[in-house]
Assembly symmetry: C2
Homo-oligomer: 329 residues x 2
């Protein structure tokens, strides 16, 4: 976000030594009271002239109910939307309902109902496929169920804009696209009749598990939306697909270069690994997992130029009527 | 640092809502144990392949002695210097002995002896004029006492490189330079005979109090030194004045633009201030102080290009023998 010109005030919900993809970390979680105090600190010195609010990872708390954190978070959020700002009219509140991925929750179960309660405060939410299933209660196994889930999210939570950040349409059994391994991003804006206006962007999938790509998508989306709104005085709706295309181009370039750097690092560290003496089989496996996780760390900073000026182009396509199940056409 | 291509792992010593220049803030201080835990977290997942260690603000702790924080900090530091790294031979440890400014300590008094105990671990320290006085025990009122203080710091703490980040030579009563209001940065490297090899860079002073310029100087210096060492495989000594010149050029450009933006913001917010009803005189003064402090916030991110490519040039000059007091020539 800073690389795209945003001044950012971060209210950290955790203070961890590393991301949880390593399966081990040390550090502390902020309590709901601590987050609230930080925001009160900004308020008392009149430092809350923000344009956009973006929420992210808010995991289980040790000493407070998680719903309390989220309530405080959106206490912050509601206050923000009342403030004067060049974006007052279209001031977006962007919520990334971080709950899990690939069929698995990685926050406390209490976080789910907490999100369900506060999503109506958001202008745009950014669930992944699993989170969209959790929010809609609909298992996404086809284009029909995907469209149903999006419609359900719009109507259940009165949220006008949704971007589902990664769907593997090629894994749907009924899909004609089983040969290409793409990740598809689906954007949707609710129409006055309650039906969704949809667009999709397809991006080639890369064969690696990266941590933090959801955060990267959310951060870049906020920065690009802000840029578009400031530049053209246009609305969130008309700039969303433009922003998404830019975001995905940046991410694809950064992740491609990360893959190259990962391979270099894996080759460079392989020999060192082999000579490490006296490790049990379990220790060796753990060491290898840590080595591979570190090698796949997304190279954001050294690929900064691709955040500013991505060198690939993807296209946003309207998701056509015939793609939708009969009831939604 | 990120804008200059460094991947940075931050161990936060405080979690504050805003910098302390506002004279009010909310938030928490990390305990020594928390900092140590975070570093242990990095260690256990083999994430400690850093090139450089930079220490900064470590204020009084509520629940631990401050010396304990610094000890933990330099436990981290000593461990780092034992690690394999492309920079092993010249791996710099840079210490910004943050204690105070303009005659006033802004950390607990216990922090002073703690710094004095651990400075010998550092390759380069970055005190301001006041901190150099505290470390050397010599009040800097002239070019002679300045040179004496630097010599004392080299010999007392066995620290090979010192940069004094801001000296107002024009305020020295004996100075012939009373007409120009410059800030002078003095760099020094200890020679084999114990005397200092000195350089100086003069920069026009800007008429505004900025918060965070010490941190900015330290961060840019580390990034530029790293860049120079990687590029030329040269030593810390030969690249220090080059790095300092680049750092000061970036800072001057960013601060000049900050001044312009400050003036715009002060004009824009002046009318809003006047119409705020029902404030007492004391409240009005406080509100005005907060308004001016916020307006002077350093615009780092939106002036990113000046960090990468500063557009002014300052010169490093050797500080000549005749500038030094007789005993130091």
């Amino acid at each position: 976000m800073q690389l795209l010109g945003c001044d950012v005030a971060a209210l950290n919900t955790v203070h961890f030594s590393n991301h949880t993809g390593y399966r081990q970390f040390k550090g502390t979680r902020s309590t709901a009271q601590e987050i609230s105090d930080l925001y009160q600190g900004l308020c008392q010195s009149h430092l809350t002239d923000f344009d956009v609010m973006l929420s992210g990872y808010a995991p289980v708390l040790q000493h407070a109910r998680p719903s309390q954190t989220l309530a405080h978070f959106f206490g912050v959020c509601s206050t923000l939307s009342l403030l004067n700002s060049p974006l007052t009219v279209n001031q977006p509140t962007v919520l990334d309902p971080v709950m899990g991925d690939q069929g698995r929750l990685y926050v406390n179960e209490d976080v789910v109902p907490a999100y369900k309660k506060i999503i109506h405060h958001a202008d745009l939410i950014l669930p992944n496929q699993f989170e969209a299933e959790v929010l809609s209660g609909i298992k996404i196994t086809s284009l029909s169920t995907l469209a149903e889930a999006i419609t359900a999210i719009h109507t259940t939570y009165s949220v006008p804009h949704v971007i589902i950040t990664s769907v593997r349409i090629s894994q749907f059994s009924s899909s004609p696209e089983t040969t290409t391994d793409n990740l598809t991003v689906i954007g949707s804006t609710i129409k006055s009749d309650g039906s969704p206006r949809l667009f999709r962007v397809d991006v080639p999938a890369l064969d690696c598990f990266f941590s933090g790509t959801g955060d990267m998508f959310a951060a870049l989306t906020v920065a690009r939306l802000r840029e578009a709104v400031f530049a053209a005085d246009s609305t969130l709706r008309s700039t969303k697909s433009w922003a998404t295309v830019k975001v995905l181009a940046s991410m694809h370039s950064v992740l491609e270069r990360t893959l190259e750097a990962r391979d270099v690092e894996l080759r460079a560290t392989a020999s060192a690994e082999k000579t490490e003496p006296g490790l049990s089989e379990g220790e060796k496996q753990k060491r290898e997992y840590l080595r591979r996780t570190k090698a796949a760390e997304v190279r954001v900073v050294r690929n900064a130029r691709f955040l500013r000026e991505p060198d690939v182009e993807f296209q946003a396509r309207e998701w056509k009527k015939e793609d939708l199940p009969a009831g939604l056409q």
